[in-house]
């Protein structure tokens, strides 16, 4: 009231009107309310909508930030197989690869345009520097917005083995997976035809063209055949069947007659199970002879004797039917049907029908046998480290499954040694080494019209050694120009060179 009185006298206002002091104060308050509304809206955007806006697909900031510093590296034998090159563009650095095609199946790719896959994808946070484990003072770094240098991924890959695998595969369509049986460490992982992930790492038109070319290539160079593609394993699967037969007691002596008839007409059908060599064409052969000559009739018969259930559990012990086999890159599910009639079991026991396996799982079969029946979880990464080399996480070997008893495993080992010494696997022999192996030539396609898949799985150790073999390997050649496509002819020499690389190192 006092104010109004004073106002009137000062401004000479009429009785019923507030003076300029009052209206001016109101107008001033209005202007300040406008500015407070701005502050409120700013708070809404900068605090409450921050996350959604930062992660909006059209917002380039996260992408710019992630490429603002060199990416951490993927390491093989302590040396980087990746790198980062300054671009001079909006994205300051792009990925480079020292030997892109050789390691593409290991690294995957890191592209500014097409994202990250495999190790590049799984450890993207670590490599790009956003993994909180890289920060020494996480809270302070967050406040100061300090970006951590990218961490490094140390792989288990053996450089010599990987190079031998790539060289051996050459221009053929195929894959190699090599494992250290005692630990499950993956020593080689190769897939051909390969590609250079460095060609589309950036965001230029050339990068896009390179990507489009790779996508359109009917040879599917970007398919990781070692991990992500399954093939009928053919006769290499007979190792599993033999193991199941011994483990179940269907066969107690590898040299004793098995009682397998010839010709073997599959139960419930009129179709005989044919053999590829005439050496198999007599009844009552031993398991040893059947393995050495890769006799379909005998192994199909034994599979049926073992029975579906035991066959399934043995196959699963080696990694079949596991849809979540992560190395940590996830492998495709290898298949052994769990519901079949007897003739289907017979076909599956020789690696046909619906049986399909990744090279990785077939390497696990060889490695499991070599490691006295204990299948180790395959592992591609040794440890994760900060840029200064200090470990963030160290991976330890882990048992996947005790698939066989040591005694059964020992018997299967001997069968595999016999295959290499006297049988179809002679091409894998290495002077001064004990090698066990199994060939496979798998029919596929409509009426088996496709070029057969040539398989070879094996393990090797220095002659006279009683230790677990240091290497087991699986090789598949999916499509070759060779006229004589057999596992022993095409795949065994590649396996041998990979094993030699490990033994020699």
């Amino acid at each position: 009231m006092r104010r109004r009185t004073r106002e009137r006298s000062a401004d000479g206002e009429p009785q019923d009107l507030p003076g300029i002091s009052t209206t001016g104060r109101r107008a001033g308050t209005f202007c300040l309310v406008l500015i407070v509304a701005l502050a409120a809206q700013a708070t809404r955007v900068q605090v409450f909508q921050k996350k959604a806006l930062d992660h909006n697909s059209a917002n380039q900031r996260l992408t710019i930030e992630r490429y603002s510093q060199p990416r951490g590296n993927i390491m093989v034998a302590g040396e980087p197989i990746t790198g980062s090159a300054p671009t001079g563009g909006k994205y300051a650095y792009e990925r480079t690869y020292t030997a892109g095609p050789t390691y593409a199946a290991v690294t995957g790719y890191s592209s500014q345009t097409y994202g990250n896959t495999q190790l590049e994808g799984i450890y993207d946070d670590l490599l790009s520097g956003t993994d909180p484990r890289l920060a020494s003072w996480a809270v302070w770094d967050e406040v100061a917005r300090r970006q951590q240098p990218g961490g490094d991924v140390y792989t288990t890959i053996d450089k010599a083995a990987q190079q031998a695998a790539i060289k051996g595969l050459g221009g053929q369509q195929g894959a190699v997976a090599a494992i250290e049986p005692a630990t499950g460490r993956i020593l080689a992982l190769a897939s051909t035809p390969s590609y250079d992930p460095g060609t589309f790492a950036g965001s230029s038109a050339a990068d896009q063209q390179a990507w489009d070319r790779l996508q359109a290539d009917t040879n599917q160079p970007m398919l990781n055949r070692a991990l992500r593609q399954t093939y009928p394993p053919g006769s290499t699967f007979k190792v599993v069947t033999a193991a199941a037969a011994l483990a179940s007691g269907v066969v107690t002596d590898v040299d004793a007659p098995t009682g397998a008839p010839y010709p073997y007409v599959m139960p419930g059908t009129t179709t005989p199970l044919n053999n590829d060599t005439s050496a198999c064409n007599e009844p009552n052969q031993s398991l040893e002879a059947a393995m050495v000559n890769s006799c379909n009739s005998v192994m199909g018969y034994l599979g049926v004797q073992v029975g579906l259930e035991r066959m399934v559990s043995t196959a699963e012990g080696f990694g079949f039917n596991d849809a979540r086999l992560d190395v940590p890159v996830r492998a495709a599910r290898s298949n052994f049907d769990t519901s079949m009639n007897q003739s289907q079991v017979a076909l599956s026991s020789i690696g046909q029908y619906d049986t399909a396996a990744t090279p990785l799982v077939m390497a696990m079969v060889a490695a499991g046998v070599a490691n006295n029946g204990r299948v180790m979880h395959p592992q591609l990464v040794d440890r994760l480290a900060k840029s200064d080399g200090t470990s963030v996480q160290v991976m330890h070997p882990a048992t996947y499954r005790q698939a066989l008893s040591p005694s059964v495993a020992g018997q299967v080992q001997q069968l595999m040694v016999d295959v290499v010494q006297n049988g179809t696997g002679r091409n894998a022999r290495i002077a001064g080494a004990t090698v066990g192996g199994k060939t496979g030539t798998a029919q596929h396609g409509v009426d088996n019209s496709g070029v057969p898949y040539a398989w070879f799985i094996s393990w090797a150790k220095p002659a006279g050694s009683n230790d677990v073999p240091p290497v087991a390997v699986a090789v598949v050649i999916a499509d070759s120009d060779a006229t004589d496509v057999t596992g022993g002819g095409l795949a065994a020499p590649i396996a041998r060179s990979v094993m030699q690389a490990v033994l020699g190192g």
Binding site: P14, T23, A27, C31, I35, A37, L38, A58, N59, Q60
Partner: protein, 457 residues
């Protein structure tokens, strides 16, 4: 000046010694210059790891401008409010730093030196106003001619080619000038004079319709006509920001003068009608309303982020504390990053904290303007100070509200901060007028009470 008991007993309020606060102003001005120089250094260190080589030169230039301006205030307006000048120096300094920072991200374009040149001109005009204009009431004489000049200035750009869809620029060789900026002051002077003279007639005469009193046509008519002419020209030029500003300025000053809140209701009604009309018939405006309502809509439509979306991305990326000067990516916003959208860079690199600080600087400047208006005794001066303060407040709201997606984007310069010569110059003149008027408001009355009219000169 003595606070003797005798005067108290006589019923005359004891006059306290008036503190001029000039030293406060000096300290604040120096602090403002220092902050700007530190910002300049931060940009250099964050972008290429070194202190910019011309830091000393830049600091000296800004410091010299600020100190000369301060010296002139000390000399010619010793009782002036100590806050407007430091605030103007700080905002101008921040603007220069951010423009320099954006220059670094846009090769081949350097706006900071030009802006420094315009700032120098602005300070020169500040000095000229403070020195030459000894009493703000002199401006009353030029109110009408000023309005005419303003109208001519506004019409001129029609004869020049449009820039980004708006005909608001006068291009003379390399120089471009936005006459709407200067017209703001002339219009405020005109409104202040017209309303100061006619406020009683506007408020009290005329026919009464129910509770609302409609003034005589001959009183309201001329001002409505002039206002309509201004807004009409601006609509033709599609300068929505300035027309919104003129509209708001008119409504606020009318309300302050007459205390009739009915004017506000009518104003808002007219604004709504105009907004709907313009929004429907102008595709330029229509798209802006669409963007305002759904700033991320163009992304969903597969057309990529529009400018508002980019602006919001920038603000969000800054978060609470900002990325630090030079470390944001607000260059993604595009062509108006140094002018209309400069606030987005402040929000991104200084964060919510920095953004709100800048907003509070404006709030402080506006409130000091209103304070000056309320403290003055003459109606013209009161209305003028309030009008000028409203211009700053409204302009900040219109431009910041636009880039923050609070209101549709209209395109305006952020006072002192945005790139743009006419804007910087105009705002320095506004601050000069506020300094001049606050000097009048705070100057102690002469000792002899008999001569009651305090004349500035």
């Amino acid at each position: 000046m003595a606070n003797s008991p005798a005067t108290v007993r006589a019923g005359v309020p004891a006059r306290r010694p008036v503190r001029t606060r000039r030293n406060t102003e000096l300290a604040l001005v120096l602090a403002a210059v220092l902050i700007a120089v530190f910002g300049y250094i931060e940009v250099g260190v964050n972008t290429d790891g070194t202190v910019p080589p011309d830091t000393a030169w830049y600091g000296a230039a800004l410091g010299a401008l600020a100190l000369v301006a301060h010296g002139v205030v000390r000399w010619r307006a010793p009782y002036a409010d100590p806050l407007p000048l430091p605030i103007a120096v700080l905002l101008n300094g921040i603007g220069l730093v951010v423009i320099y920072r954006l220059d670094l991200a846009t090769p081949g374009s350097s706006a900071a030196p030009t802006q420094l040149l315009w700032s120098t001109l602005g300070v020169a005009l500040f000095i000229a106003v403070v020195v030459l204009l000894r009493d703000h009431r002199v401006l009353r004489r030029y109110a009408y001619i000023g309005a005419l000049v303003a109208l001519v200035l506004l019409i001129l750009p029609i004869f020049f080619p449009p820039v980004y869809g708006s005909r608001i620029w006068i291009q003379l060789g390399p120089l471009s000038f936005q006459p709407g900026e200067l017209a703001k002051i002339l219009l405020a002077v005109f409104f202040a004079e017209y309303l100061a003279v006619r406020r009683d007639a506007l408020a009290l005469t005329g026919r009464r319709i129910r509770r609302f009193q409609l003034p005589h046509g001959r009183v309201l008519g001329p001002v409505l006509l002039i206002w309509a002419a201004f807004v009409g020209v601006l609509v033709l030029e599609t300068d929505l920001g300035t027309s919104l500003l003129f509209f708001g300025l008119f409504v606020i000053m009318l309300y302050v003068a007459t205390a009739r809140s009915g004017w506000i209701a009518i104003g808002l009604f007219l604004a709504a009608v105009a907004a709907v009309g313009v929004g429907r018939f102008s595709p330029h405006v229509h798209s802006r309303v669409t963007d305002w309502l759904d700033p991320l809509g163009s992304i969903a439509a597969g057309q990529g982020p529009n400018q508002i979306a980019q602006s919001l991305f920038a603000f969000a990326w800054g978060g609470l504390l900002g990325t630090g000067l030079g470390l944001g990516h607000s260059i993604l916003i595009g062509f108006a990053a140094k002018s209309d959208f400069i606030l987005a860079t402040i929000g991104e690199e200084l964060g919510l904290v920095g953004l709100v600080s800048v907003l509070m600087l404006y709030a402080l400047l506006v409130s000091r303007g209103f304070r000056t208006g309320i403290a003055l005794r003459d109606p013209f001066g009161r209305l003028l100070a309030i009008g000028l303060a409203s211009i700053v407040g409204l302009q900040v709201f219109v431009v910041a509200g636009g880039v923050l997606d609070l209101i549709p984007l209209t395109g305006m310069a952020l006072p002192f901060v945005a790139q743009g010569g006419s804007s910087v110059v105009t705002n320095w003149i506004i601050v000069a007028l506020l300094v001049r008027m606050s000097d009048s408001a705070r100057r102690p009355a002469p000792e002899v009470p008999a001569q009651a009219v305090p004349e500035g000169s």
